[in-house]
Symmetry: C2
Subunit: 383 residues, 2 copies
């Protein structure tokens, strides 16, 4: 019988708990191809080797560890990189759970009829080079190597049709990132459509001390109004709108700004609602700008359509696990893969809903329920 | 009779119009002890020498050009440095007008009974080292050399009591920085009290895509509300409030911020009104923070009391010129000098009120009226 190298999921997560952790924030700073992320790759390769899995690099920064070989493989896994000062679970939980699910299948004495693979995808968060799901996009050809600038850090080979041809389906386990899941494990239905818009507010630079309030054309006022309006318009539509990034010029205490640039992140259950939200905000911001003597323009920088996961696979997993089905507002490698292979996602409950933060948290028993669920799914799909 | 080196004020301003001008913004970038500002000093020394004035460096970065010597001097002048992308008049107009006022006195055949000096004060805007009126503060001892960090660029000698002892009074001519002056020339009554407060908004970092609106503790919302409240509270009190500087963490498009830091610049006719404004804003911001699930703290970084210029001198100039008396919201070297010698200011009309901007503007005929007024004042005070 297989010897467990670890006695519990928590022990495996603890093993990497100090890698890339910021001592001040308590959060993780694990950007792709930096020292902490390379240490995590070494740790993963060592774990895979201990389990007798065959390692394969795809030339795009992604690592695969295979139990068995051949076509029609069932792939699982997630990513090890983080947002700036992110939490312990986003990404690593999917990788650790995959390792432990294989342990559990072996303990159960399962002999899978199909290969099982664990993927570690590179730069899922886009924290280093600005493009989320970089590794899975390169693997699938969703982006070509000449469309990305990795600043000489890495030279990707691009689409690997031979690997895609061997994947029968992909199931990613991930911590849920809101508070929508009331039970330990759920199954994803879809990823909300979302987009980013750049907002450029322009006014008239002037002296903060001497310019009468009525003579001002202050773009900071139009910006501030737009922040509050975005929040209100999102609440009205049960959508999500965030303005979290701002650049002010000249950004001096005693100067009325000449310009404020900000970015809107908007997501909703349907693209129609995203459009409605953005158009309502555009109208309100423009009306306010005319009162402030300023101007505002909104420019779409990226619009990602809704992604519906494979319905047959989704329903099979939900029935197998007796688990609820729910959508998510976040992008994932599973969202990229879903255009190429049947894909599903399992979510583990997030009791606080906190994500992309050092405060991200999942209960130990829910994480363990996630491992069992993933083992059940892998067994069901390979036997 | 004296030979004019220049035929008009505009020609003299034109001579320096290309020094330190940013070709994109059209504004001036003339920071103390940088190449453009050093070129302006050379230009001033050359102008003074052409007029037979005696140059004196005070060891604090300030330059004096003297017509005559001895005690009870009447000092005029201003500064040549700029804010980032500032206008052509703020500072240089006072220096150019001083040179031309001496030309005009000589043309009138005036033989002053007291010395007349032109001062060029260093780093008035504080754009390079962060402390406004650096040169005049060092000259007077308002700050000591060991209280400032000039990063090795310059080693000031500090208070020059011997120079202060020779100054009977100081009159600075400056472009007005609002739209309060309806005639070509006015006389300053006072500089409004003003202060800077740091505002720290703290919330909970989270995922912009997945966090439901009702679960957020978004400090950007509290910040935006506070920007609009500062504007409203200032208007109610005929005061000035500006939030022109902002820092967001982590400042990412897909992240609800963990914190927003901003700075409030507040000025009013009296310190009581400044206090009222700040306290009203503190109450409103705190109330909003409690609704947003965030926190806000306001910390005073600097508070400058009101400066009342010398009343006798002010009234003498206003009578002589039949000019209106008005306050200003801006700091000046004259504000620093006024604590040590009788000090007054002349303002030249600013028809648009624009200041600290490439769009700053004064009409040629108003600038010429300013030279005549300054010549009248120097004649009256020295004869």
């Amino acid at each position: 019988m297989f010897e467990y190298p670890w006695t519990s999921l928590m022990k495996l997560l603890d093993e990497i708990a100090d890698i890339g952790r910021d001592p001040v924030s308590g959060g993780y700073v694990r950007y792709a191809w930096t020292e902490p992320e390379l240490a995590l790759r070494d740790w993963f390769r060592d774990q895979a080797t201990q389990r007798g899995l065959a390692l394969e690099d795809d030339g795009n920064g992604n690592i695969f560890a295979w139990w068995g070989s051949g076509p029609d493989a069932v792939l699982t896994g997630s990513h090890l990189d983080s947002v700036p000062h992110g939490g312990a679970y986003d990404g690593p939980l999917g990788v650790v759970s995959a390792l432990l699910a294989i342990d559990e299948l072996r303990q159960r004495g399962v002999k899978p009829a199909k290969p099982i693979g664990i993927a570690v995808f590179a730069e899922e968060e886009g924290s280093r080079f600005g493009l989320a799901c970089l590794g899975s996009r390169l693997l699938t050809g969703a982006v070509a190597p000449d469309q990305v600038d990795l600043q000489g850090v890495f030279e990707p080979v691009g689409r690997r049709q031979d690997i895609l041809d061997r994947i029968g389906c992909f199931v990613e386990l991930h911590i849920e990132q809101g508070r929508a899941l009331q039970r330990p494990v759920g199954v994803a239905s879809a990823i909300w459509p979302h987009g980013r818009w750049r907002l450029d507010f322009a006014g008239e630079p002037n002296h903060a001390g001497t310019t009468q309030m009525g003579d001002r054309r202050d773009p900071m006022l139009t910006f501030a109004f737009t922040v509050l309006a975005a929040n209100k318009e999102a609440r009205l539509r049960h959508a999500h709108a965030t303005i979290g990034r701002v650049q002010v010029a000249p950004n001096a205490t005693n100067a009325i700004p000449s310009s404020v640039r900000a970015w809107l992140d908007a997501r909703a259950p349907s693209p129609e609602i995203v459009d409605e939200l953005v158009e309502a905000l555009r109208a309100k911001a423009s009306e306010r700008a005319s009162r402030d003597g300023t101007t505002v323009t909104m420019t779409a920088e990226s619009i990602t359509p809704a992604i519906e996961f494979h319905i047959g696979l989704r329903d099979r997993l939900a029935r197998l696990l007796d688990a609820p089905i729910l959508p998510t507002g976040a992008g994932h490698d599973a969202g990229v893969l879903s255009a190429y292979v049947p894909t599903a996602m399992l979510f583990v409950r997030n009791p606080t809903g906190v994500s992309h933060s050092p405060l991200e948290y999942a209960a130990d028993e829910d994480c363990e329920a996630g491992v069992t669920a993933l083992a059940d799914v892998l067994q069901d799909l390979t036997c």
